[in-house]
């Protein structure tokens, strides 16, 4: 780089512009974990609770992934990684991904940025990297919180399995975030990114919930990144490395598609 500044100017810019929202999401995630996880001894391991769960329709239990809720790992998976954490991380990641190119184009800034000394591929890659860094920061916060709460909350999730679960948790967020980035880069609107990112997250969740219902529908698991990630209970059994490769690989494919399409098309037209 000929410019006097340090490397990766667009990534640093994206991170500097979003540190407040990153912090807010981190606070939100920690708050949710601090609310749910310490309740495990009172809920998940509680015999009355188990009776209550047994009285609920089994379809509901399967849809919510509450079938393993009696173990610390299953409880953490069902309440946080599978539900609230998944929801919050997906929203954050999709919002960032949709804003990265499509939102920027809509705000009139992309045209101006592209007229400066950058290439389009560089813009996409640095902004995707900024998305990945933010997802990684939030995931690190989640991991640290699990490790801290595991003992006092009697979760019995070791740091190794926690790290494996967080790796997949981060991958799912990155997948819907890069889908949002790609759709925004293709369509040129924030809305396109939000729709595509939400579709990836929601479809993944829904296909998993439906696939859980019966063996006739279990083929839907194949279409659900959520199931790839969580189907083998990574907090209890460690991550499925094939799922890790598939989810991160697909995120890379979405990013490459965003770069390839943006490099070819007219901007702001």
């Amino acid at each position: 780089m000929k410019t006097p500044g340090a490397a990766l100017p667009l990534m640093r810019r994206a991170l500097a512009d979003s540190w407040r929202s990153t912090l807010a999401w981190a606070v939100g995630l920690v708050a949710v974990m601090s609310l749910y996880l310490p309740l495990y001894p009172a809920i998940g391991g509680n015999a009355q609770m188990k009776q209550l769960l047994d009285s609920l329709p089994p379809e509901l239990i399967r849809a919510l992934n509450y079938d393993q809720i009696a173990t610390g790992a299953g409880y953490t998976q069902a309440t946080f990684f599978g539900l609230m954490g998944f929801l919050l991380m997906s929203i954050a990641s999709v919002a960032w991904g949709a804003a990265a190119i499509g939102g920027d184009e809509e705000a009139g800034l992309l045209e101006l940025t592209l007229a400066h000394g950058v290439s389009r591929v560089q813009v996409v890659l640095e902004r995707a990297a900024a998305l990945a860094v933010r997802v990684a920061v939030l995931s690190a916060v989640v991991l640290a919180t699990i490790v801290v709460l595991s003992g006092p909350s009697q979760l019995g999730v070791g740091p190794g399995h926690a790290a494996g679960g967080v790796l997949l948790f981060a991958g799912l967020a990155l997948l819907s975030g890069t889908a949002a980035l790609a759709a925004g880069a293709i369509g040129g609107r924030r809305f396109h990114g939000l729709a595509a990112g939400a579709a990836v997250a929601v479809a993944g969740y829904a296909f998993n919930a439906l696939g859980n219902q019966s063996s006739d529908l279990s083929w839907l698991h194949g279409l659900s990144p959520y199931h790839w990630a969580y189907g083998n209970a990574p907090l209890a059994n460690g991550p499925d490395w094939g799922a890790v490769a598939a989810i991160y690989g697909l995120s890379a494919v979405f990013t490459a598609a965003a770069a390839a399409v943006l490099a070819q098309r007219d901007v702001g037209a």
Binding site: K2, T3, P4, G5, P9, L10, R13, A16, D17, E106, A107, G108, L109, E111, L112, T113, L114, A115, H116, G117, V118, S119, Q122, Q264, D266, V267, G268, A269
Partner: protein, 310 residues
């Protein structure tokens, strides 16, 4: 000094969106160190042309060269040598103007220390306000700051005066004069000629995706219509009319007697040079002669509205 390629060369530029062609083959050249204006009504294709030059959109056909390089292949290195002000600057960023121009300075720099402050002061722009809270005029000023700050060899400015009050327009014109004096080239667009006629060396008139005229401002002025009114004595309407009808370029002539006997007033327009008229009037006892400054705006409007000749 080695030969330098022209600042901008455009040959056969066409652009279609779907089946609708919006640029129908433009040809023009902007020489280094000049100020070249593109005038045309909204929708004529000025913004499309400029976006194609900056590689924001891609031409359907035609050849473009900026500073001797194809904008598609020139990449970041070429764009660092260019300053660009987009046409409809929306700018909804949740950041301050200062941080945005610092960022762009990092991409396209180096920016001379103090240059941004100097530009902001001259344009009376507060760089520490959130961009989305800026008025349209102030967003325009911010756009000008980021275009000028790295002293690029070529400035491409789409409707640069829009949203600027008259005082700021004057300051902007001063910036253009300085840029030209430093050897920078300026390509700018406007839908009103009067805003740029004082600075433009050459003007292209764009209408419905075609260039109808390329001329210097002086040439435009020479072809522009002047209003003519004169009062002559010791003559008759018939005689004066016959005389004036013989002068090339005189049109829309109306002649009638006024006041005392033998006084005749003639009004009309002069569409050609003045010398033939002056020679003809030597034979007349003139009491009054008014030849108005040519109205370039009217000239351009007539070029806009001219039917495309078969």
């Amino acid at each position: 000094m080695p030969h330098q390629p022209a600042a901008i060369t455009v040959r056969g530029l066409r652009k279609s969106y779907g089946s609708k062609e919006v640029l129908h083959g433009l040809d023009f050249t902007v020489e280094r160190g000049t100020i070249f204006g593109m005038i045309g009504p909204n929708g004529a294709g000025k913004t499309t042309t400029m976006r194609a030059l900056l590689d924001i959109i891609r031409p359907s056909s035609g050849e473009l060269a900026l500073l001797g390089e194809d904008p598609r292949r020139g990449g970041p290195a070429l764009r660092r040598r260019i300053g660009y002000l987009p046409g409809d600057l929306i700018l909804q960023a949740r950041t301050t103007g200062r941080r945005l121009v610092e960022h762009y300075g990092e991409l396209s720099g180096p920016v001379r220390p103090g240059r941004v402050r100097e530009l902001a002061e001259r344009l009376d722009l507060d760089l520490d306000v959130q961009i989305r809270r800026l008025s349209k005029g102030n967003k325009q000023k911010l756009g000008l700051v980021q275009a000028f700050m790295h002293d690029p060899e070529l400035l491409v400015l789409d409707e640069p005066t829009s949203g600027l009050d008259p005082l700021m327009q004057a300051e902007f014109l001063a910036l253009l004069h300085e840029a030209r004096a430093k050897g920078q080239t300026v390509f700018l667009s406007s839908h009103v000629l009067s805003e740029i006629q004082a600075v433009a060396d050459e003007v292209a008139i764009l209408r419905e995706g075609k260039i109808t005229t390329i001329a210097t401002v002086e040439e435009l002025r020479a072809t522009a219509t002047r209003r003519l009114r004169l009062v002559a004595g010791n003559t008759s309407p018939e005689k004066l009319a016959a005389l004036l009808q013989g002068v090339p370029g005189v049109a829309r002539l109306a002649v009638h007697s006024v006041g005392a006997a033998g006084m005749v007033e003639a009004t009309g327009v002069l569409e050609d040079g003045v010398s033939a008229l002056v020679r003809a009037l030597a034979a007349v006892e003139l009491h009054d002669l008014v030849l108005e400054e040519p109205d370039l705006e009217e000239a351009v409007l007539s070029l806009y509205s001219e039917e495309v000749r078969p």
